[in-house]
Symmetry: C3
Subunit: 209 residues, 3 copies
């Protein structure tokens, strides 16, 4: 048992809280992909995503509350805060996209939306794994590999957005263009925030190994 | 007189500076509501809001300057910086909305804009009160209650935006849609920043009680 | 030789890394202005800007990596991080604007775009100079003067955007409006981030003189 474990055993539940949070984000991503692939019962599925988003909010709230009561944290306080709020941003974007699919009365999601949601599922599942690994610095290389992969996925999402928005402008119905463009941009933004999470994780392992 | 007061009497004016800043924000919100409710002399009223925004900028500038000259602060330096810049963001959004009302030659504000401005007035007045309370930690519960209320108001604004943008898409004039959508989104963003201010206040009282 | 130089000679290369980063940003701005002024070989010129952006990304990455391996930094760690990521934001916006010029198949840039790019060139060249001055605090006044100038340039860009977007709304072709509005807003956002860089520089010299 290392010195760190001996001093702060009770603080290690920050890792559990962060894992719970990352799990909610990955679940939200899967629910969004399910909505886009099988576009039926949109209000019901959107409500389900909203519920997951509320769970994520509570996880973040708990993390901040615990931080305020805790003097010694297993990793830097700022890194825990950054991880929690970046994960929250990912889930917010997932929720914002789902919300607009219903509110804007989108008749059918475009293939680009499904593709983007698949990228978000891949990125958030990878991040869930990585968040589960940071309490054991022997896995630093695996965390780093996931961060590289999430950065690659963000580039994929960026290309998907660029190509699909350019194609969208060829259409006639301007209202359709505006609605679809906004949803596609929110989906891409979700992967930007995934990259932010990856950058924090990468920093954490760099500092602690 | 507590130990803290004895050590740093001269630093307590940070509370005054923050209060002044919060007061300018609440004043800007009231000026915006006045503009939207009585949509006459738009250039004059917009100029008035711009002046208030400049006053807010100066308050923030003074706070940062003072922080650079001060070693001991009554609450965490980072929290003072976060409060000042989040308050600034609220006022920037108020100013951005007012500016676009004039520049986009909006003929008549929509009821949703008035509703949103009312929410912003409520939120910023509550925040002004809360900022005035943080120098006395015995009022922590009242501050916390205001923060909960501001979070509720942000949800109200979010619903107002969603419903009104969805309704906007039913209209024929696309230019009208684009202009109104942007102004409504800026108004909603103002309440997002109010929530940021509330979250910092909530953290401050949690840490210091 | 001052005490500071004696203690941390090997850490002074942070200044070199930041200078390299600021140089890439200014180069990206000049490449964007060249593209807008002489709108030929758009894909080739856009690719050139993307390459500069990659170089900027690598500079930021190196700075963060070095920070993780370094205990003593010549100026506050947070300030180095803020400078690097704000400079990165400027370059991202330059790249985003160039990218959209190609993807949206813009036929001819508007005069407002050229004007905005000129402002970005001025601001980023000034920032490159200022970043080169912060290792010598005797030049604090010159740095401060540049920061005031960059703040002025941000206001100029804001006015340019407001006037040109308002004029854009007079046009008939909505698709044209949407595309041009977005590019103009990205260009203006680049100057917002220049202001962020200037604010950090201003803070650094205020704290260290």
């Amino acid at each position: 048992m290392g010195l760190k474990e001996w001093i702060v055993p009770q603080e290690r539940h920050f890792f559990d809280l962060l894992e719970e949070d990352a799990k909610a984000v990955a679940e939200g991503a899967r629910a969004l992909l399910d909505l886009l692939r099988d576009f039926r019962d949109v209000p019901g599925k959107q409500k389900h995503i909203k519920d997951i988003e509320h769970r994520g909010d509570e996880a973040v709230h708990t993390i901040f509350e615990e931080l305020n009561k805790t003097f010694i944290t297993p990793i830097d306080r700022e890194d825990i805060m950054a991880l929690a709020s970046d994960l929250d941003n990912v889930l917010d974007m997932i929720d914002a996209a789902a919300n607009r699919l219903r509110l804007y009365e989108i008749e059918e999601p475009s293939p680009a939306m499904v593709d983007l949601a698949e990228v978000i599922v891949e990125a958030t599942s990878a991040l869930e794994k990585a968040v589960g690994m940071i309490q054991d610095m022997k896995q630093a290389d695996k965390v780093e590999a996931i961060c590289v992969e999430v950065n690659r996925l963000e580039n994929v999402a960026d290309d998907l957005m660029n190509t699909s928005v350019a194609a969208l402008f060829k259409e006639k119905d301007v209202i359709h263009i505006i609605k679809h463009k906004e949803i596609i941009e929110r989906l891409e933004e979700a992967t930007d925030y995934c990259e932010d999470v990856a950058n924090v994780l990468s920093d954490i392992v760099a500092k602690n190994q």
